[in-house]
Symmetry: C2
Subunit: 281 residues, 2 copies
C-alpha cells in the first residue's frame, strides 16, 4: 500500500476524502458499511471511531479446521473474534451486515496467489466458505491514545508499518507461515503504558511480542516495511512490535489453499462492537 | 463427587493422603504426572502449587472442528490452552507427558453416556482422537488467594460447587449444551479484587459471568450443586459465578458424540506452565 491510497475514495467518482475526515469518524458502523456497500473504498483508520474493526479471512470449509487451529495456536497475531457458520455471510458482531459486500475492498486468492482486489465479492462467493473475523490493532491504538502514548504513524498521517518476520508461527495441519508484526515507535517514558494498555486487550493482539532490536525478528531495515508505510522514529524512540492480523494473509501465501478471500490491508470490516468491550480490566 | 473422594489415594494400596498434603504441594508437575501414571488417583487441588492444571476433552477428529468452534464461541467456560495433533497424546504444555496415562482418573463417554472411569485410557485410545486442554479455575483461585480474597470452599476443605445453568452456550455445528458455572461466595469488600484478579486471567475463564441472584442463571438451590460440594456462605457473602471447564462434559452429554474421553471432575492434568504465565497484566 502506498501513501496515495491513504484516502477514502469513491470508486465511481474518484473523489478523495482524507482519513481523518470528521464525518467518517462520526459515522455509525451501520452507516460506514452502507457506504462501503455502495462503492466507497479506502483505508478505514479512524472510521466510526470507538467501534471495533476486524481483519477478514474466508477459506473453504475443508480448510476451516486448520485455519481455526492455526489461530488458536498463534493468538497474538491471530486473535479470533468470530467465526461464521459454513456459507453464511453473517456475523454476530454486526447483525444485518453482509461480509460479501460491506468491506471497502477485498483480496481474492487462488493457490496462494493474489488474483483480484474487488470492492464486492459476490461473484467470488462460495457456499462452502467459512469466514474468520480477527482482531485489529486499530482497537489498541485507541487505548494507547487514551493513555497519552503518542502513536507516530497517526501523527505522521501514515499507515502502520508491517513486517514479515523470521519467526515462524506454530503450524496447524496444512497451514504454516511467518508471523507478521506491526511496529510503533514508543518513547521510553511511555513504554510501560504501551505494554500495559495493549496487554489489557488480549482479544486484539494483546501486549507486544518484542521491543527493541528489529534484527531479533529478522527485520533488516525498519525503513522498508513489507506492508504499510515507513514511519519516522524520534530520537530515543524504542521500536515496539505487536502481532499483526495480516499474518493469516502471509499464511495463505505460504500455505497456498486453493481459494481464499481477505480484506485489503488497512481496509477493514466495521463491526457494531465497541473497542472498550474487549478490555479485560 | 462426594467429600470422601477429596483425598489422594493410591488405588493399589487405598492409602489416603489429604489434599493439602505439603508433599503434594511441593511436587514438580513431572513428579505429579509420574505418580499419577503409576496409579495414584484423587483430586488435584493444591498439587504442584503454582503450576497450571487443565481440563481434558478428547474427541474423534471428525468432531474436532465443532469442538474447537464451540470453545471459540464460548471462551468464558471453554478457554483453550492447547489442542493436540490428531492421534497424538503429547502437548506443548508438558513436554514428555502422555495424556493417555498421566491424569489421576479419566471418564470414557459413548454416545454421551459415561461408561467407564479408569485411571489409564490406553485401552480406549484411538488414533483419530484430538485432545483439547482447557483452562481451569484452580489458576485464578491462586490469584484470588494472593490478593487476599477468601476462597470459602478451600477454607472449608471442599471441592468447588458447580451448577448446570439455564444459559445455553452458543452452539457450533453438532455441539450444544448448557453453560456450567462454578460458584465462590465473596465478601462484598473483596468483590472488586475478585473481579479484577480473575479478569486479568482471560485464558483461565477470566472475570465472572454473573454476581448475585442464582435464579438469574436458573439455579434453584445453591445447596445442591450438580458437581462438587455445597459450600457455606458467610453472612453478606455474594455468590459469584464463573464459567467452568466442566461445560465441555455437559456438551458431550447433550450432544452425544459417538466417543469422548475427559478427565474426572477435579482430577486434572498437571502442565509445566506456571499460573503466572496466563496473567495478561
Amino acid at each position: 500500500m502506498n501513501r496515495t491510497e491513504d484516502r477514502l475514495t469513491t470508486v465511481s467518482e474518484d473523489r478523495p476524502v482524507t482519513l481523518v475526515d470528521e464525518h467518517a469518524r462520526a459515522w455509525s458502523p451501520q452507516e460506514a458499511r452502507t457506504r462501503f456497500r455502495a462503492g466507497l473504498t479506502g483505508p478505514t483508520a479512524g472510521v466510526a471511531a470507538g467501534h471495533t474493526q476486524v481483519n477478514l479471512i474466508s477459506v473453504p470449509a475443508d480448510w476451516a479446521y486448520d485455519m481455526l487451529l492455526f489461530c488458536q495456536r498463534n493468538p497474538k497475531p491471530c486473535p479470533v473474534l468470530d467465526v461464521t457458520d459454513v456459507g453464511s455471510p453473517a456475523t454476530v458482531l454486526a447483525p444485518g451486515a453482509d461480509l460479501r459486500t460491506d468491506l471497502p475492498r477485498y483480496r481474492v486468492w487462488r493457490d496462494g496467489e493474489l488474483v483480484d482486489e474487488p470492492t464486492d465479492v459476490r461473484a467470488h462467493w462460495r457456499d462452502d466458505l467459512v469466514s474468520f473475523l480477527i482482531g485489529c490493532s486499530f482497537t489498541f491504538e485507541w487505548a494507547l491514545t487514551e493513555a497519552g502514548v503518542p502513536v507516530r504513524h497517526l501523527e505522521q498521517g501514515r499507515n502502520v508499518p508491517m513486517y514479515e518476520t523470521s519467526w515462524q508461527c506454530r503450524p496447524a495441519g496444512r497451514i504454516h507461515g511467518p508471523m507478521v508484526v506491526s511496529m510503533r515507535p514508543v518513547p521510553p517514558q511511555h513504554l510501560s503504558a504501551a505494554i500495559r494498555e495493549s496487554s489489557l486487550l488480549p482479544a486484539v493482539h494483546g501486549g507486544p511480542v518484542h521491543c527493541g532490536d528489529p534484527s531479533t525478528l529478522g527485520i533488516e531495515d525498519l525503513g522498508r516495511p513489507d506492508f504499510g508505510d515507513p514511519v519516522d522514529l524520534h530520537p530515543d524512540d524504542i521500536p515496539v512490535f505487536w502481532g499483526c492480523g495480516v499474518t493469516p494473509q502471509a499464511a495463505v501465501m505460504a500455505s497456498r489453499p486453493p481459494f481464499a478471500l481477505t480484506h485489503a490491508p488497512g481496509q477493514m470490516f466495521l463491526t457494531d462492537a465497541r473497542d472498550q468491550q474487549y478490555r479485560v480490566a
